[in-house]
């Protein structure tokens, strides 16, 4: 019977219970959806890494001897070592894609996962090609592919299509983001290397018992006697790092937003149940008089919160993993290469579900327990009216001069604190979500502007072949009125921390500008090293600190004093002038020419032979836009959630406040207040509460945004930008929702029947 009573009570208060239900559904939906997405991907990736025996560390040099490999194998903690030759080649296609060729000695570590064709073994001749690349280039098993490297042309039959665990995330050289079809990789046996080229193993793949720490790195360093250029632990591998950073980001998103919705659900429960229990005071009295145990009555009311949150949680937990992951997977598939895309339900969902149900149930308990304390005879009597104390407003001299509207609304707000707080929190959530959504959109929008209008002012990048002659380079510079730069990779060391980054050597380039962390223009010093803001932060560096650095492929470490810290979104690393670079004994060899002119890809003259790739600004911008599509999904979800949150909370509160004040309103009506006047009275309070909610909502939104952008990954540095217009939209949007919803329920003022609502209770 009591269960039926509950269902009918819920039906009577459907606005509130539907809103509680929706809030729990959305909260758990986001949590379960996002968490099953990243858990699934992380599981897939982990399985993939394990199955293919991804190396725990990579050591690069100009060549490892068998003895060197054996020495590393002997280091304690090392479980396996394999040598490999990696050569960058150019595929024989229109767009001259870069294809990394890996010549394996044993193929035991970082093996490719076979997707199609026959398995790769050392004995077999042929090439095992990157599945994604093959897909874009429409290559099948059995086709042949021609690549050029070191002046040689190699044609091989494609024996199989593979996925390498080292290339879950990868991008072409000098690309900021992956552009499918412009780069790829392939596995071959060391026997397939043409005889003209002497066999040198440039890579040493190492597997270890435990993740590589500094001690193990030092042990390997000793074993190799320092004769190597780069040591890369798994966590610093670009592919591995980028993927796990992205997972971390999703985790952050999946954690913070559900909490907001669950908080609102709990608040709604508290206000709804407190009101319900108050209204059912006599009913509770009668149950007590009938002889129901206090515990049973309490359980009855607690079960409202329990069932509604349980229903919401279950639905959210079922629908979330079935829908949300696939929203993310679409855009992510263009960025990450995984053998499969599956979602998985994490155990933490259970905790979250328990948390949500327990939280809501507990909230109900706190709302109900007071009424149950009284003796049955007290409960059957109507509740003594709440003491209305004079608030501190009344004591102000100003009070008497305020209009009735303001006095009435102020008293009302302070008398019904729970309701007011809920309104403020709901609005706060709504505006915070909108700020997040707009902030993401604006930040990404600005990043493109920032990178291609403020910092890099060229129209075209001409990537140069490594064997280009300096005459050809000079000719290209002259022809296109370009500027030469050298790009490469460096490793930085400071305060006991190590990071790899990008190297930029400029020859007084005017097409690349720099800004400091607050977006002010910055001139980089000619005779000092300049470090990007993000890397300085990661290494704990300040202006004037010293940092050790070395160029990839070179064993020599250099020490420099930081002369400037510049901020840039994509290429974290160092920038030096040509002169400074040469002081350290390096030779300035341009890798890229940048120009203001638009360059056709079809140019075929002598100098153009030295170009490996032509990249126009619009191409680069489009590339970034595809990557940010995943973010757009999120922006969209957030906006919808914000609107639902605001509508639900405000409507629910409106209805609640309206029924509670019905007697007051009809009294006012009897006195002679016009309907319009009463509606504006209600609207006024609504607008005040909305404004009070928006004020903290904006900084909280910014805080959430900051929290999320903390997880974008080490190579990115996104300055949070929110355009002024977005603030306006956010505030106006929140107000608009608030006012529209208010109009919806304040219509009822007209319908108030003065006679019946002023008659006695029951």
């Amino acid at each position: 019977m009591l269960f039926r009573k509950m269902l009918r009570d819920m039906w009577r208060n459907k606005t509130q219970f539907i809103s509680i239900f929706l809030m729990t559904v959305i909260g758990i939906f986001i949590y379960s959806g996002v968490s099953s997405e990243y858990t699934g991907l992380q599981d897939t990736a982990n399985d993939f890494y394990e199955e293919t025996n991804l190396a725990d560390a990579w050591v690069y040099s100009s060549g490892f001897t068998k003895e060197a490999a054996d020495a590393v194998r002997a280091v304690e903690g090392v479980t396996g070592v394999e040598r490999r030759l990696t050569i960058s080649s150019v595929g024989n296609f229109d767009n001259n894609p870069t294809i990394k060729l890996h010549f394996a000695e044993n193929n035991l570590i970082s093996t490719g996962k076979l997707m199609e064709g026959e398995a790769f073994t050392i004995e077999k001749d042929g090439i095992w090609l990157d599945t994604e690349f093959a897909k874009v280039k429409k290559l099948k098993v059995g086709d042949s592919i021609t690549v050029t490297f070191l002046g040689l042309t190699l044609e091989k039959e494609i024996k199989g299509l593979i996925m390498s665990p080292e290339y879950v995330y990868s991008e072409g050289e000098n690309d900021i983001i992956p552009v499918p079809g412009t780069y790829g990789y392939a596995y071959l046996s060391y026997l397939a290397l043409p005889k003209e080229i002497p066999m040198v193993y440039t890579d040493l793949l190492v597997t270890t018992e435990k993740p590589v720490d500094l001690k193990l790195e030092n042990a390997i360093d000793q074993a190799l006697d320092g004769k190597y250029s780069v040591f890369l632990a798994r966590k610093n591998l670009r592919s591995y790092m980028q993927f796990s950073e992205e997972m971390k980001e999703h985790k952050a998103i999946g954690k913070i937003f559900p909490l907001l919705f669950l908080a609102v659900a709990m608040l709604t429960i508290v206000t709804t149940m407190a009101r319900l229990v108050n209204n059912q005071r006599t009913q509770i009295g009668i149950l007590k008089a009938l002889g129901f145990k206090r515990r049973k009555i309490l359980f009855h009311y607690i079960s409202y919160g329990l069932w509604i949150s349980l229903a919401g949680t279950v639905i959210g937990a079922v629908v979330g993993p079935l829908t949300l992951p696939y929203l993310f997977y679409g855009p992510m598939m263009t960025t990450y290469m995984l053998p499969e895309w599956r979602s998985a339900i994490p155990i933490s969902l259970l905790y979250m579900a328990v948390l949500s149900v327990a939280g809501c149930t507990l909230a109900t308990y706190f709302a109900c327990r007071n009424v149950l304390k009284d003796t049955p005879s007290e409960t059957l009597r109507p509740k003594a009216p709440k003491d209305i104390k004079h608030s501190f407003f009344d004591r102000l001299k100003l009070w008497e001069h305020l209009s009735f509207d303001i006095q009435w609304n102020l008293r009302d707000i302070f008398r019904c604190k729970g309701r007011s707080i809920m309104a403020i929190v709901g609005i706060l959530g709504c505006s915070a979500l909108l700020i997040c959504a707009f902030g993401m959109r604006d930040t990404f929008d600005y990043i493109i502007k920032w990178n291609y209008e403020v910092l890099n002012r060229y129209e075209t990048r001409l990537e140069l072949k490594s064997d280009i002659t300096s005459e050809q380079t000079d000719k290209l510079i002259e022809k296109y009125d370009g500027e030469a730069i050298q790009e490469g990779a460096v490793e930085l060391k400071a305060n006991g921390k190590k990071r790899s980054g990008e190297l930029l050597v400029t020859d007084q380039a005017s097409l690349i500008r720099f800004v400091d962390k607050d977006s002010n223009n910055l001139e980089l010093p000619v005779n000092q090293i300049s470090v990007s803001y993000k890397i300085a932060k990661l290494l704990g560096l300040k202006l004037g600190d010293t940092v050790s650095w070395h160029v990839f492929g070179d064993e020599k470490w250099n020490t420099s004093t930081i002369g400037a810290i510049y901020r840039t979104p994509f290429t974290q690393g160092i920038t030096v002038s040509k002169g400074y670079f040469e002081q350290y004994g390096y030779h300035f060899t341009p890798t890229t020419i940048i120009t203001k002119q638009e360059v056709s890809k079809d140019v075929k003259d002598d100098a153009a032979l030295g170009i490996s790739k032509v990249q126009s600004k619009s191409m680069l911008v489009d590339g970034i836009k595809t990557v940010t599509e995943a973010m757009n999904v999120l922006v969209f979800v957030l906006m919808i959630a914000a609107v639902i949150l605001a509508v639900v909370v405000i409507y629910n509160l409106g209805v609640l406040a309206f029924t509670e004040r019905q007697r007051e309103l009809s009294t006012l009506k009897v006195i002679g207040f016009k309907t319009g006047k009463l509606r504006s009275l209600l609207l006024k309070q609504n607008i005040w509460l909305t404004l009070v909610g928006i004020v903290p909502g904006i900084p909280i939104g910014l805080w959430i945004l900051n929290y999320i952008f903390n997880f974008v990954g080490e190579v990115f540095d996104f300055m949070i930008i929110i355009y002024f217009s977005s603030y306006v939209y956010c505030i106006a949007g929140t107000l608009l929702i608030s006012v529209l919803v208010n109009r919806l329920f304040s219509k009822r003022v007209r319908k108030i029947d003065m006679v019946s609502s002023l008659k006695g209770v029951e």
């Binding site: 039926r4 008089a289 049955p376």
Partner: protein
């Protein structure tokens, strides 16, 4: 044998500094099957006596002996148990659960008492066989009060406590309700205790207890009570 015995029962409310005696050393006895009326002007302490009798409130001092047991000493849980097993309440404002139908309101008691009376039978006995599936708001005042009585007797309690059961009803309906209660007392030997401020009903009672200002003024045992329908209202 006495079913109920009030011995020097006092109920005091502390209102700030002043002490209000809602019941001041009240003593009386009620026998099983008696049709008792507690009379007094409003605010005299009638409801207090009824609440104490029904285990809905604590006495400040004195003994309330029901079937030989002093319920004045009972703790909260024991009182609940006592109410569940022994007492049926009928209120002035019916106090039905608005979200349950007539049938469900009565069936609610099945969740507390195991050996109660059949729900439909009880509803039929109060003349509501045709209205069982209506919600309280679809019933008239008299009908609602009859549901309330059905709910009270469904538990098969040893006493029915009625607080101004006709207070919200018109005279004809009120007479009908009182007749029903008298019939229950006479035919089923239920102890019925009615609180009222209407002295006319005294003629129909086996016993009349008068209270004024929290004090017992007189107890009259009426050897020849008349039918409610014959009372001159």
């Amino acid at each position: 044998m006495n079913l109920i015995e009030f011995k020097e029962v006092t109920k005091a409310y502390e209102l700030g500094a002043t002490k209000l005696l809602a019941a001041d050393r009240i003593s009386f006895t009620i026998k099983e099957g008696e049709f008792v009326v507690v009379l007094g002007p409003s605010g005299a302490g009638k409801s207090t006596v009824l609440n104490l009798l029904g285990g809905m409130d604590y006495a400040s001092s004195g003994k309330i002996i029901i079937q030989g047991k002093n319920i004045a000493k009972y703790k909260d849980d024991e009182l609940t148990q006592y109410r569940a097993a022994n007492v049926g309440f009928v209120f002035q404002f019916y106090n039905l659960i608005p979200t349950l139908t007539a049938l469900e309101n009565v069936a609610l008691t099945k969740e507390i008492v195991k050996n109660g009376v059949d729900v439909k039978e009880v509803l039929a006995s109060v003349g509501l066989a045709d209205h069982m599936n209506k919600f309280p708001s679809q019933l008239s005042g008299g009908e609602q009060q009859r549901v309330s009585i059905a709910r009270a007797i469904c538990k098969n309690p040893i006493m029915l406590l009625c607080d101004e059961p006709t207070g919200a009803l018109d005279i004809e309906t009120g007479i009908m309700i009182l007749s029903l209660l008298q019939k229950l007392s006479r035919e089923q030997k239920k102890t019925v205790i009615i609180v009222s401020h209407n002295a006319a009903i005294a003629q129909a009672a086996d016993k009349v207890i008068r209270i004024r200002n929290g004090k017992l003024t007189e107890v009259i045992t009426n050897e020849t009570p008349i039918d409610v329908s014959e009372v001159n209202w």
